[in-house]
Structure formats: structure tokens, C-alpha cells
């Protein structure tokens, strides 16, 4: 029996919301939707970068940098969509964009893809889902998450250790043995690219990558953490995707910039559906979802208050009897 076959449960629920026949019309892939969304997103980033350059040295840099950093943080959306291979009809285009956004966002593509696939298989099944909030989450653990400490701690470990073939033993279970050389090779390529950028900028102008990339990534990530906590935070810890994953109502602008990911339960229930069809999917079966949130602010408030009071789902379900192959980290 492989380690994956020892899991007590897998995520489920699609059969309760949609028949296979109903599902089919939503699956259609298109290059057009992906190119427009990616083009608009990168265009906004370019405009914001231009504004950063003209406001440098003035107080205006504070709000402008915040906007720029948030736009960069939203690149998590194409990272995620491309990891599913659903951004474009053309798979090669999907993979090229996947690499580009992973490099900017600072995640390793293949490793992320496997970790995320495992998050889909074992959504909210403690010990198996690599993306869960920590067990018995306290207020300080919540703050650590939202500030991005956990994210950077983990990613820096990936970038420093994977090039040397050192993969955290607690994360090996979701990586097929045959893929380890590929993960190591990718990590080495990324390491060399980052080292090259560092080298060139030290010689010419070290401020450019700091101002346009590193600082905004650090500043923007807490915003992305704050939004992403809503996806599963304080949702049931069981396999039922209607209960363990949350769709969040928010503004059209946020939905656009987040590539429709606020329809998160729809995405988990139907991961083959491309981002541009998730809204239609919500119209189809949104009423069957049990976890629907009214805005990121109220969800975060709920998660934080429960963490502070040492209550809520992360405190309710002691899981000592469950096999624990993974370190509980949030990607």
C-alpha cells in the first residue's frame, strides 16, 4: 500500500451539485479568455510600476507601492490557474506563462503543482492536506500567517534546499519518486536565474530589483494571505467540499483581479473548469454550497476571534490518531 492509499478519506462532493452531463458545457478552454485576463493583469502591473518610478522620493510612493504590491500579489491567481492547466487551450502557452508567473511570485512550478494537487485530493483532511491552517490556531499563529512569515519561511527553504536535492521528508509523500530529479533541476534553474538577477543588479543598480520586485512582494503577500485564509479558514474539517471550502462574495474588481478565485468552492468541486466559467457555475449550484462568506473582512474577523478565544474547527477536532505525513503549512 502506498502512503497516499493510507489516507482515511478523500475530498468529495461534485456528485451532489452537478451531473457529468451538466458539467460538460463549462469545461471549454479558450486562449482568448486567458490572454485577455493575463494581458490586463500585466498591463496594470506595468502602469503601477511606472507610477512607482515617478512617485519615488515623494509621499505618494506609499499608496502607489501598496497598489503595485497588491497587483503583484494577485499573480498568485495565474500561478494557481496555470498549475491546473486551465488558463489557455494551448497547453504549451499555459506552461510558459506558468513559469513566468512562478518566477515573479517566487514559487517552484512543479513542486507547487504537486503540493496543490494534494491539497485538492485531501482538502481539509488534517494530516494529508498540505495547505491547512495549523491545528489549534492561536491569535499569534493567525498573525504570523497573515504577515506571510509561514509563506516565506517555507518558500525560502524550498529555494535553498531543493537545488541540493534536499526535499523536506514530510513533503515527499506527494512527490512521485520519478519527479524528484525534475524538481531538483527546476530548483537549480530558478536558483541560477535569481542568482543572475542578484549578480547583475549588484553590479549595475541593486535598487531596481528591490524596489520593483522584492519589497513589493514582501509588502503585498500579507494581502494575499489575508484573502486566502477565507478559502478554508473556519470551514469544516471533513472531506465534503460543499462544507470544507468557502465561496466569498466580494466586488467585481476583486473577482477580476483574483481571476474568479473567490468562487473557491465551485473551483474545488469542479477543478477542470477554467476560471472564466466559475461565475456561471456559481449561478448553477451556488445555492447548494454550505460555506459562503460575506466579504473577506468578516471572515477574517471570525477566524481571528476564534483563534484568540482558542475555539473553532482547528481546536475542535483533535487528530492525534490520524497519520501525519505533512508539516501543516499554508501555501
Amino acid at each position: 500500500m502506498t502512503i497516499m492509499e493510507q489516507a482515511p478519506l478523500k475530498a468529495f462532493g461534485q456528485e451532489y451539485v452537478l451531473t457529468k452531463k451538466d458539467y460538460k458545457p463549462y469545461l471549454k478552454r479558450s486562449n482568448k479568455h486567458g490572454l485577455i485576463r493575463f494581458g490586463v493583469h500585466m498591463g496594470l502591473i506595468a502602469v503601477a510600476a511606472g507610477l512607482v518610478s515617478v512617485t519615488l522620493g515623494t509621499w505618494w510612493i506609499v499608496p502607489v507601492m501598496a497598489v503595485y504590491a497588491i497587483l503583484l500579489a494577485f499573480l498568485f491567481a495565474p500561478v494557481h490557474e496555470c498549475s491546473h492547466g486551465t488558463t489557455f487551450r494551448n497547453r504549451r502557452l499555459n506552461e510558459v506563462i506558468f513559469w513566468i508567473v512562478c518566477l515573479i511570485y517566487m514559487v517552484p512550478p512543479t513542486f507547487f503543482r504537486y503540493a496543490h494537487a494534494t491539497h485538492h485530493t485531501y482538502t481539509q483532511i488534517r494530516g494529508w492536506d498540505p495547505d491547512m491552517l495549523p491545528e489549534r490556531m492561536t491569535a499569534s499563529a493567525y498573525i504570523k500567517f497573515v504577515l506571510g512569515f509561514t509563506f516565506w519561511q517555507r518558500n525560502i527553504k524550498w529555494f535553498l534546499f531543493h537545488p541540493f536535492g534536499k526535499i523536506d521528508p514530510t513533503q515527499r509523500y506527494f512527490l512521485p519518486q520519478s519527479e524528484i530529479p525534475r524538481v531538483v533541476r527546476e530548483a537549480r534553474i530558478i536558483f541560477m536565474i535569481y542568482a543572475g538577477i542578484a549578480g547583475v543588479s549588484i553590479v549595475f543598480n541593486p535598487w531596481i530589483p528591490l524596489i520593483y520586485w522584492v519589497i513589493p512582494r514582501l509588502v503585498g503577500e500579507p494581502f494575499m494571505r489575508w484573502m486566502r485564509i477565507s478559502e478554508h479558514g473556519e470551514c469544516e474539517e471533513n472531506g465534503d467540499l460543499r462544507e470544507n471550502t468557502r465561496t466569498t462574495y466580494t466586488s467585481g474588481i476583486i473577482r477580476y483581479l483574483f481571476w474568479e478565485m473567490p468562487y473557491h468552492a465551485e473551483h474545488h468541486l469542479c477543478p477542470m473548469v477554467p476560471f472564466h466559467a466559475l461565475g456561471r457555475l456559481h449561478e448553477k449550484f451556488g445555492h447548494k454550497l454550505h460555506a459562503v462568506g460575506d466579504g473577506y473582512m468578516s471572515i477574517n474577523k471570525d477566524v481571528y476571534v476564534k483563534a484568540k478565544q482558542k475555539q473553532g474547527v482547528t481546536w475542535d477536532n483533535p487528530t492525534s490518531s490520524v497519520h501525519q505525513p505533512v508539516s501543516q503549512e499554508f501555501s
Partner: protein, 104 residues
């Protein structure tokens, strides 16, 4: 010993679609692509999802669980997270009936 099994009728599978057929212990997927019919193992080689719930596009079956992709004609694993090829089976059509050959 190799045997031929009648698994379906050509009218029962729409173009660019897949059905699941169980022959004894073997779970098969039977596909209709570009006017031809093909058969592969029905279970994904990554984490055992049923490929019949997957998406057929451009001669490729995409797994419903993690969107791993296989070439329907050759069974070749095309993109992660799938790394192990799918087994493919010979198919013949006789009197509009679809037959699949199983066994060595």
C-alpha cells in the same frame, strides 16, 4: 490468452466523449475521437481517479482530479502530475459494435 469483448455501440458514445466499461476486473475507458474509437485503462495512473469523469479535447483525456493528461491513442502521460502511461487496448468495429481486445 487475448479475447475480444463487445463493449458498446458506435451510437452510444458522442464525438469527443468517453464512457466507462467494466470487463471482468478491468475498468476501461472507451473514447470517440475524430470518428474513431479507442480504449485505455479507465483509472488514472496518478491517484486512481476515474478517467471517465475527465475531459476529452484534441485527442487527449484530462483527468478530473488534477488535470493530468494522457494521449488517448497511445496512452502516453503528457503532463504532470501524471508520469506513468495508461495502458491502451486494440479496438475494432464490427456491424457498428465496438470490440476491445484484452489479455496477453
Amino acid at each position: 490468452m487475448a479475447n475480444w469483448y463487445k463493449v458498446s455501440h458506435v451510437d452510444e458514445i458522442e464525438e469527443d466523449d468517453v464512457i466507462q466499461v467494466d470487463v471482468d476486473e478491468t475498468v476501461l475507458c472507451v473514447y470517440h475521437v475524430d470518428g474513431s474509437f479507442f480504449a485505455t485503462d479507465g483509472i488514472c495512473t496518478h491517484e486512481h481517479a476515474c478517467l471517465t469523469d475527465g475531459f476529452v479535447m484534441d485527442g487527449v483525456i484530462e483527468c478530473p482530479l488534477h488535470q493530468g493528461r494522457f494521449d488517448i491513442r497511445t496512452g502516453k502521460a503528457l503532463s504532470p502530475p501524471v508520469t506513468v502511461d495508461l495502458k491502451v487496448y486494440p479496438v475494432k468495429i464490427e456491424n457498428s459494435e465496438i470490440w476491445v481486445q484484452l489479455g496477453e
